[in-house]
């Protein structure tokens, strides 16, 4: 199955950064972009172009990440251009497109597009392992409050690890059912709903059994609450420190002045 957000190994500057630096940058970017006006949207876009250049991710690959979310963006755009009050630009019978609406649509959809692209640069340039480790390290303060960054990291890891297994299982069940009778398109709405129920029932049962066995297997390998160590350790380079400080200063300035 093709996953446009999947990690592509590489040796670019962005690939080499510590995951924490990249996560912090994406979080900062999403904070700032919420405040942006139409003009500064261009600056934000320029920043994304810069990042994608530095990460040497081919533009086509990066733009592909927009495809799955496109219907949502189109829907959003339509809502904005038709339902914003203001000076009419074009009238189509009872509805009108206003110039304010057009500006709003471009701005809001532009923000979302840039957000998706920023997150995609992160996931394409960082392996799932490193990403989870970065997340774990950033969450460590919650350990002092009684939470467990290790548990959270473990959950993310397991979710990522079992997703392919789950999809495979879904395919198997689906095929088994298809071979027994129906081609889905000939079913009515009722039939389609029923076939989804038939699909989800065995899937859920299998999944629960799988969780049970997994819990035993983890326990058998000494998993418990508390500190654990990892195969890889993360190291912040001077470059990382420099970038994190720059990002924080820029973000604070943007939040104050935008």
């Amino acid at each position: 199955m093709y996953n446009p957000y999947q990690y592509v190994p590489g040796s670019s500057l962005v690939h080499k950064l510590d995951p924490r630096t990249k996560i912090i940058t994406v979080i900062a970017f999403s904070l700032v972009i919420m405040q942006v006006k139409l003009i500064s949207l261009l600056a934000a876009a320029a920043f994304i172009v810069l990042c994608s250049q530095l990460s040497r991710i081919p533009a086509a690959r990066l733009l592909n990440t927009l495809r799955p979310v496109m219907p949502f963006f189109i829907f959003l755009f339509i809502i904005y251009i038709f339902f914003t009050a203001g000076t009419p630009l074009i009238s189509l019978g009872p509805v009108q497109i206003t110039s304010e609406g057009l500006a709003m649509g471009v701005l809001q959809v532009g923000k979302f597009i840039l957000l998706v692209l920023a997150a995609s640069v992160l996931t394409i340039s960082t392996s799932a392992t490193t990403l989870t480790m970065g997340l774990e390290r950033l969450l460590r303060p919650i350990n002092k409050l009684g939470g467990s960054s290790y548990d959270i990291a473990m959950m993310v890891t397991l979710a990522l690890r079992f997703l392919p297994t789950l999809l495979e299982e879904m395919n198997n069940i689906n095929e088994a059912q298809l071979s027994r009778n129906s081609n889905l398109s000939s079913l009515g709405l009722k039939g389609k709903i029923r076939s989804i129920v038939y699909l989800s029932l065995p899937l859920t049962l299998n999944f629960l059994r799988c969780c049970d066995e997994l819990a035993d297997a983890m326990e058998a390998r000494c998993y418990r609450h508390g500190v654990r160590t990892f195969l890889y350790e993360l190291h912040l380079t001077p470059m990382d420190y420099y970038l994190i400080i720059m990002v924080i200063i820029t973000t604070v300035l943007c939040l104050i002045y935008l």
Binding site: A128, R221, C222, T229, L231
Partner: protein
Amino acid sequence: MISVRNLNFSYADDQMILQDINLEIEDGQYVAVIGANGSGKTTLIRHFNALLRPASGDVLVNGLSTRYVKSHPEIRRMIGMIFQNPDNQMVGMTVEEDVAFGPGNLGLSSAEIRKRVDEALEKVGLSEYKTRPPHTLSGGQKQLLAIAGVLAMDSRFIVLDEPTSSLDPESRFIVLEQLKQLNQEGIGIIHVTHNMDELANAHRVLVLEKGKLAADGAPGDIFRRVEWLRDLGLAPPKITELIWYLRQKGFDIREGLFSIQQAGDEIISLMNAHRLKAVNM
């Protein structure tokens, strides 16, 4: 060493699943556990690494009782366990991280983890798959990966619950050879199986019947009792059955053989003896 003393266990109050089990397993032994479906094999071996605790009686691992939660990490480090379904015991996003899970839980330094992971993968022959996602391995390789995960914890015993039941014959052979080799290096193996032909490497066989230890002895002694095994719902190894059949037919053939080679040699010498007799007449 694993010592089981007067072990009783039930999941619910009304029905005892394990009854008065007593046994000792020395370090380095290769023990097979057999018994009909529902006879309590899985329940018994889950006591060895404290996944289950006795209702009464004791299970001691190197003198540590599974009764005390404090000893569980050490017990589980010494007794590695491998489950039937290879997919549901892999927890890492890559092969090497999966092997690193156990050592990481023990809190080892990342240099030490690296060393153990590399050694364990080397030993089971999966070094070249280090960075692959584990779900892309074959069934046999997945079980080898699970074995590597146990080796990286430096376990004394590997306990396996029907590890080959979902494998094709070739993968099955590879996994069994791996177990044999590890056993020769001094690691104890406790192997639950339904397939009697897998027992050629065992030093000792435990037979469970309805939660009781019905027999405990050398494979030769256990498998000689062909009819008794059949009554328990177990099929003896094919070789043993063949020899048993020949004896029933009145041939004077040695019992207690269960490798193809031994049995073959025995049958050949029998045939030679017959030929000699025929020539002399």
